[in-house]
Amino acid sequence: MNARVADLAARLERTGYLADEDLATALFLALEMQRPLLLEGEPGTGKTALAEALAAANDQPLVRLQCYEGIDATQALYDWDFPRQILHLRALEALAADRRGDAASVEEAERSLYDERFLLARPVLSALQRAPAVLLVDEVDRADDEFEAFLLEVLATYQVTIPELGTIRAAVPPTVILTSNRTRELHDALKRRCLYHWIDHPGLDREVAIVRSRAPEVGEALARQVVAVVQQLRAGTDLLKPPGVAETLDWARALHHLGTAELDLETAARTLGALVKYRDDADRVKAALDRMLAA
């Protein structure tokens, strides 16, 4: 492995995030080339966690923008604090009640309404202001096309123009991580701006290591058992929603809280809610567990 890539992976590992070489290289390139990194993959494979780990590893603030259908620029960029503007106006009126207002003071009062203290910085603006920072644009596939186009503009220039105040530019471009669950195809233009990485489910040893690192209270033997079962479920059983790493962690922690040191059928059945979230799946997993744990 390239020494600097290895260094990045090691720093991520200290925050509890275990990245494989593929992912570490992609992230390293994104940092070097100052490009956004687009992460796709099954839910629960650690897309959002990567942004959190990167922020912690670089000791930078993490600014998160959760996308949803109908999100628009005011919710992502900035908004004016309307009630406070009104209050400010009232205060000015009260002060100026005795003297007649001349043109100059009116203009000044108006200008003071668009002061920076009335500006509510939403995630994108706040990431630019606080840079160096990590900007996480979560589930970008849920937003509309128009929002994507707007995002593209910000990502291209790392600056934002507010008509009343002027242009705000990031001193250092923030590191941008986008995640997508592929509910729709993202626009080519956005994808072209980004580096791409597909996060897969980890292999057995890596997942055990992840459980050990994220939930150190869980014993080695239990962790290995839990991961072995989950990996078999992913590979062999036809589930509506195969468990992700997040579910593995939940399940391991749930078992630990019940004081389980070794996985048995009865406790497993009682804690299944941490692992699968569909009724059909629960039935299938129970049947599969019978086979696995009996053997």
Partner: protein, 377 residues
């Protein structure tokens, strides 16, 4: 791998590689290729694994792309990296468009015999006959004509009520906007602003069966799909082919020229006229696309004869799942309009309880009807 780290030789090999990746079907643009060269020089070309990861990060944009990239990578760099012997393979050219000239000759022999003196009327009545003919029985010239008609069909796409309210002349009073407008005038009252919920496009998902038993219809169905894809906004219409496996065709069908789009789609589908495993492919659609949101609230159209080689119970179960997330599920069966058709095949029997509309789909008239059903859904 050996050779100098930088130098034009290496760059050529890398660039050649990007061409090969593009030929394999990955959308590599020149700026992506440039980003790849930059990335490769950052991680060092001497490191094969890192070079591969750099390619995955910079050249690819979807999971399918990753597979294609890795395949080409294996071939391209199996030999020594410093040896630029393998030149980029020539790109496949789409077959030349064969349509317009043949069209002008009229609708084939049949009409010429009927009314040789009035070509316009002859063509018009031929179209009328063509409207109700079974598509699978047409000859080459008639197919070409039908293709042109499909290309000109009027297309309306369905809409839904939007969640967000937007400014409008009528509707409920928009207090915030009204106040803001009055603030802009230093407290002078402005006109009352109103807003209401607008309309947004509703997604349409086409699942086209391209197995052997549907081969007579597949070509025209793809044209219909292309027509809808081009008519809609980006992402509004999605087309998949079903066969022994599921293939995402929307990107291929985006081309404005139907001939190019069809050629691209033909290159994308690996299991043309193969067998059918409807249940499994519908399950694959549900798992990889449908439940994530592509089919959620969408008008889902499945065009298939329901000729299931696998287990009809699985098909029924998967169609039920699809029906639960979709806004409306339309099943089109080319055989339905034929005399003596009874829905008795195992696949169709399993599917029928979970379908909102069950339409025929063997002639132009039925396709026009299908478009109406989609638009009004």
């Amino acid at each position: 791998m050996s050779g100098t780290e930088t130098g034009t030789g290496i760059d050529e090999v890398l660039l050649g590689f990007t061409h090969a990746v593009r030929a394999a079907g990955v959308g590599v643009t020149s700026d992506r290729a440039r980003a790849y060269l930059e990335a490769a020089s950052i991680v060092g070309v001497g490191d094969p694994a890192a070079t591969r990861f750099a390619g995955r990060a910079t050249l690819c944009a979807s999971r399918d792309d990753l597979d294609r990239h890795d395949r080409v990578f294996e071939e391209w760099f199996r030999a020594d990296l410093a040896d630029p012997a393998g030149s980029p393979r020539p790109r496949e050219r789409p077959p030349r468009a064969l349509l317009p000239d043949e069209l002008r000759d009229g609708p084939g022999g049949r009409a010429d015999e009927d009314e040789p003196d009035d070509p316009v009327r002859a063509a018009a009545s031929a179209v009328e006959i063509l409207r109700h003919r079974d598509v699978a029985t047409l000859d080459q010239a008639e197919r070409a004509m039908l293709a042109a008609i499909v290309g000109a069909l009027p297309v309306r796409l369905p809409t839904r009520v939007a969640l967000r309210r937007t400014p409008h002349r009528r509707g409920q009073v928009d207090a915030s906007r009204t106040l803001r407008a009055s603030l802009r005038r230093m407290g002078e009252p402005d006109r009352v602003h109103r807003r209401r919920r607008g309309v947004r496009p509703r997604r349409v998902v086409l699942l086209l069966d391209v197995s052997g038993s549907m081969s007579g219809y597949a070509d025209l169905l793809l044209r219909l799909g292309q027509r809808l894809v081009v008519a809609g906004a980006v992402g509004q219409v999605e087309v998949f082919s079903l066969g022994t496996r599921l293939t995402h065709l929307t990107r291929a069908l985006r081309a404005r020229d139907p001939e190019r789009a069809l050629a691209a789609a033909g290159r994308t589908v690996p299991d043309w006229s193969g067998g059918t495993r409807l249940g499994e492919t519908v399950a694959a659609f549900n798992d990889r696309w449908g439940r994530r949101g592509l089919a959620r609230g969408a008008v889902v159209v499945v065009v298939s004869d329901g000729w299931e080689r696998g287990d009809p119970a699985l098909l029924g179960e998967q169609v039920e799942r699809l029906h639960r997330v979709a806004h409306r599920l339309v099943w089109v069966n080319p055989h339905r309009g034929k005399d003596g058709y009874l829905p008795v095949q195992g696949g169709i029997v399993a599917v029928l309880p979970h379908v909102d509309d069950f339409l025929a789909g063997h002639s132009l008239a039925t396709y026009t009807r299908l478009l109406e059903v989609i638009a009004d859904a």
